[in-house]
Every structure is written in C-alpha cells, then in structure tokens.
C-alpha cells in the first residue's frame, strides 16, 4: 500500500482528543430508544385508561396491590444497592463491592419471582391476555418490563461473574457502570408503571 506521509506530529494511533466512551454513549442512546418504545406503550394504555369504559372491567380481578407494593420496594432497594456498589469499587474495596452487587442480583431475582407468582395467581382468577383489553395491557406493560428486568439480570450476572474473578478495579469500572445505567433505567421505569397500572 502506498505510504502515507508520516512525520507530521503525534498523529499515529487513535485520536487523543478527549471524547466520550463509545459504549457509554451507546447505552445512553439505547435507553433513549427504550424510553420512546415505552412511551408508545404507556400512552396507548393511558388512552384506554381514561376512556369512559369502566376500568378494570366488571368481572375482571383487582390487582394485588399489597404484594406488588412490597415488591416495588424490593426493586427500588436493588437500585440502591447497585448505586452504592460503585464507590467501594473505586475505593478498591472489592469485598463490599461484590457484596452489594450480589445483593442487587438477589433482589432483582426476588422481584421477578414474586411477579411471576402473582401472574400465576391472576391467570387462575381469569385475567388472561385475551379476556379483555385490561388483561392485554396488564401483561404487555408489566410483562415487557419483566423481560427488561430479565435482560438486566442476565447482564448483571455476567458482570457479577467478572467481579468475582476480580476483573474490575478502581481504574476499570466501565462494564459495571454500563450495567448500572441500564439497571437504573429498568428500576426507574417500574414506579411509573406501578403507578399507572396498579394505583390509579
């Protein structure tokens, strides 16, 4: 190949300008796309929710408010543990970091398990996707959120695995931070859904 003229300063290698980490920007954009996706779902739901039709329709079960409230707290708590996990990592306190990360995963898992158990109960009470629009929306909104939690949990287990192998350090936190951004999105979305679907 023909030789580029060299000797024109420090141009070899990647540009040294300070720019954002590609992966970080990628996750931010991904979350924006997700937000647009959920806004579509949520506004569709709101359109029905505030139509004159009674909601939930007669004959359809009420939603398990108490259990799900407690479950909401569990998910929020997992957000908190993940929030707290980064500082010890940056302070090279690997033990505390791993502990908090594990707690996050366990809490996330409990959330999913409780959600699943509640659905099984609701299905028995006749709340199915095709029984009514109510059922359709319930499983769409809550179910798609659960799929996202599962996705987040898989990412989290991957990070956790690397954490137990001591692959992260005070200098190398990117993987943890990316996973954390996504987890915050999933956790932050839930109270909105909870409010719209269960509370009002």
């Amino acid at each position: 190949m023909d030789g580029p003229v060299s000797g024109s300063g420090p141009s070899a290698g990647p540009a040294s300008d300070r720019r954002m980490e590609p992966a970080r920007l990628g996750i931010i954009l991904f979350i924006i796309a997700e937000i647009m996706f959920f806004s579509g779902l949520i506004s569709s739901f709101v359109m029905f929710r505030f139509s004159p039709v009674p909601w939930p329709p007669p004959g359809q079960p009420r939603l398990p408010l108490e259990v799900t409230s407690a479950n909401t707290l569990i998910l929020l708590l997992s957000g908190l543990t993940f929030f707290l996990a980064l500082k010890p990592l940056k302070a090279s306190n690997s033990q505390l970091f791993k502990g908090l990360l594990t707690a996050t995963a366990v809490l996330g898992f409990i959330f999913l398990a409780v959600q699943g158990a509640e659905w099984v109960r609701l299905l028995h009470f006749g709340l199915t996707v095709h029984a009514s629009i109510f059922g359709g929306f319930f499983y769409c909104l809550v179910g798609i959120h659960a799929v996202h939690v599962t996705g987040g949990l898989i990412a989290l287990l991957w990070v956790l695995n690397k954490a137990w192998k001591e692959k992260y350090s005070a200098q190398n936190t990117l993987g943890v931070e990316l996973c954390r951004m996504y987890w915050f999105f999933v956790v932050g979305l839930w109270p909105i859904l909870f409010f719209l679907v269960y509370l009002i």
Partner: protein, 564 residues
Amino acid sequence: MSQDAHEHKQSFISHYIFSTDHKMIGKQFLLLSTIMACLGGFMAYLIRWEVAFPNVPAPFFGLVSPDKFNAIITLHGTIMIFFVGMPFLSAFPSNFFIPLMIGARDMAFPKLNMASFWLTFAGAVLLVASFFVPGGPVAGGWVGYPPLSASSEFAGVKWGACLWLLALAMAFFSSSLGGLNYLVTAITLRAKGMTYSRIPMTVWFLLASAVTFFFSVGPLIAGDFMLIMDNMFGTGFFLPAKGGEPMLWEHLFWFFGHPEVYVLFFPALGMGLDIMATFTRKPIFGYKLILWSTVSAILLSFIVWAHHMFLSGLNPILATPFSITTILISIPFAIIIFCMLATLRHGSIRLEVPMLWMLGFLATFLVGGLTGIFLGSASVDIYLHGTYFVVAHFHYTLFPSVFFGGFSAVYYWFPKMYGRKLNEKLGLLHLALTFIFFNGTFWPLFRVGIGGMIRRIADPSFYPQYHQFANWNIFATICAISLIASQSVFLWNLVLSMNHGPKAGKNPYQSNTLEWLADSPPPHGNWGPVLPVVTSGPYEYSKPGESEDWHSQASNIKGETVHG
C-alpha cells in the same frame, strides 16, 4: 502492516458473509437493496399492468386477481420503503462513508453493525416467505390499518400478517441498531481536528436521518408488538369488537410514518450537497443555516403526523393545528433548497454524471414537496385523500430521494468503492431514460387523482366514472414498464465497469473530503498507519490566492491526484 496481513488471512466466509468491516457491510446492504428493488419493481409492473389492462393476464406472471393485487400493492410499499429505501439510502452510505468521511477506521461497534445487516436480511426473508404460507401475504396496504390487519377473520390472512409484522420488527431493530452505531461513531471516533463545523454534509444528514428514525420508531415498535399480540394471542387492542381502538394504530404508525419520509429524504439531500460542492467548486452556501433548518425540520416532523389522518375520524378541531405545522415544515426545506440554488450561483459548474443526477433529484423532488403543501391543507386533502394524487405526491418525493439521490451517490462514489469509474455514456443514457419515464409515469397520476380516481382499486373498468382515465393509465403504465426496463442500463453499467471500467485514482474529482485520501477501494482499516489529521473545512474550494481550486481536509496524508 498488521491490518493488511489480517485482511489476507480472512476466509471467504469471514470476508464476504460475516464481515465486520464497515465497507463490506455497506456493500452487502447495497446488494440486498438491489435484489429487493428488482422484486419491488416487478411488483410495480404488475400493479400498473392490472390498472391499465384490467383482467388481462400480465406477461411473465398471469392474471393479477383482486386479492393478488391487494397483496402486491402492500408488499410493494413495504419492500420499497423498508428493504430498498432504508438499506440503499441510509444503511449503505452510512456504513460505507461515515467512517471514511470522519477519518475513522471502522464503526464504533462492528459486530452490532453486522447484526444490523443480518436483521434486515432476515426481515427480507420473512417477507418473501409470506408468499408461501397458507392464506398468502398480508393484503391490507403498507400502512397496515386494523381491523383488517389485526384479525384473520377479516382478511383471511393469518400467517402472512404475522410474517409481515415480524419482518417490520426486524427492519426496525436493524435500522435502530444501525442508527445507534452511526451516531456513536460520528460522535466518538472522529479524526483529530474533525470538529463539528468541519463535518461534511453527507455525514450530517445521514446522522439527521438516523436521529429522526431513532426517536420516532419506538412507539411503532410498541404498536407492531400489540398488533402481533392481536393476531397471535387474541388480544383486541385494535379491534373495536373487543373494545379496542383502530385509530390508535394510525397514530402510532404515522407518528413514525411522517418522520420516516424525512429519514428517506435527508441522506439524498446531504449527499447531494457534497456532490454539489465538488462539481460547482464552491463552498456550500449557508452551512450553518442548512444545519439549523434541518434541526427545526426534524423537530417539526414529530408534530405533523395527523395530516395523514384528516379523514380518519380525527377530531376536526385538530385538523387546523396539524395543517399549520405541516405547512410550516416546508419553510426549513425551502431555506435548504434556496441555499442549494445559491451554491449553484456563480459556480464553475461541471456537468458530470453524478451532478446531473443530483440536479434531476432537485427538479423532481420539488414537484413532490410542493404538492405536499396542497395535501397538508386539510380542506384540500378532504378531496384528494385516498386518490392517485397522493400516490403521485409520494412517488415524486420518494423516487427522487431514493433513486435519483441514491444513483447520484453511486455514480459519485463508485470509483472509491471499486477503484474504477462507471461508464459515462451509459450513465447519461440511464439518467435520460429514468428522468423521462419517471415523469411519464407519475405526472399523469396527478391528473387522474385530481379527477377523483381512488387508489388501491384493482379493476378500474368496473367503475364507469373511471373510464375517462383509461388512456392516462395506459400511458402511465407504458412509461412505468419503460422506467423499470431502463434500470437494466444501470445494472449493465455496474457489471461492465466493475471489471473493465477505467481505473480511478484516489481522488478523481479533486474533492476535499477525507474519503478521497484513502486508497480506492480503501483497505481494511481504511488508513495506513497514520490517521488523517483534519486541518480545514470540507468545502474550501476556489480559495482566493491558492494555486489549486481545492484543498484537502487533512494535510498530513498526501493524496495523489488524477485529473479528469
């Protein structure tokens, strides 16, 4: 160097099929869109044949019965927009040129890029597969309005509808991943010195296209998902009988659908601006003005969607605000077009093939843009909605963008992609035939539409009031068949020039932007050991006091110049 050695070691499969090289992925998109365009073109021929010669079997196919007609118009639209327009106008140039024009070695996420191609490919396969399932392909129009699209009880199509919805989902995911990649690449991987005000218009407009897509598609993915649920799991989101709301789909669809038309227009505009600068040897007039106009057009494009729904049962009070935003949005585009005209003024214009295609794009697109303003006015649209006038309008916008714009880009950058030039005489012939027959095909449809002829009718001879249009329709069909046939000139030119065209050097047009510093075709990794360092803007042509009328954006790499 190491990157070179790496390239030679690649096997056929990793080089041509599971390649992560942005240039190969660009070419894959180009090939896929060419194949799909042949398919979509053949469908166009069948549609036009049936409209002009109702109930006469079409050569090479047979009788286009009404049910087949409906399926064919549906798939024609879907294929042309999502499997020709998107890959040809957005994915192919974004992949091929964004890294080259900003001085990067590849995309930020090469594997994601590969996934994006294979998703589109899978979508195309699903769509084609829908011909072979029981009930045949979906036949409710490319806009897929429920309840027709939501339950097989109405259209008799179950698997076809599901495949169509899945294919759309694949296309949406593919373009979202692609867009994410283009944005991250352009923001984080620019060469040193490539500041935001030195980014060429091609890159800016490809990004504008990506952003517009990215922000509008989410709600439709949700809608697509809900429609799949309706079809497969018996929910009734869009079925009035189950308490659902069909208009909800229309909102979700057009909230995406209108921005999508700009997604398919911006790349043509950006590439056109770069071609214009090269062939007028002048800086673009109003670089910043154009960019800010584009920003306002993007913002406005999110609040005009209901102009597709004036007759859908939308609250009439809403018609006025949506008319106003729709007509407002033509202001930024008018500004951009005036900037282009001002760029032409006093230029030393070289009427080479890419430039002529670009001018063809402007001339024809203008008709499409102007007729859009009529349609945007609710009172006019009440009469024109659902007629061939709308068909003519959007073909005068989409065909110029995708084909005139896309071809101008292919003619312009072919030397960079394959190291050889396309044959100029064949290029001119291709342009002349395309221009004449395109106008011959769609101009009569304005007339027919104003006369009141409704679109999506298989057999116009059935309606006495349409008999008066028979000759117009026959004329349009003859032109359409000629238009499709003319494209063989292009395919022939491609095959011929790829192997026998005159060798092009690195920079056959003495152009400033970075891609012209790389070898033609650029090697794996694009640049040698040294990345370009950008020291000037993209449009510094004909600078007073300089001996040459051009000035490469990076001075640390010597590009050889081949005149002519």
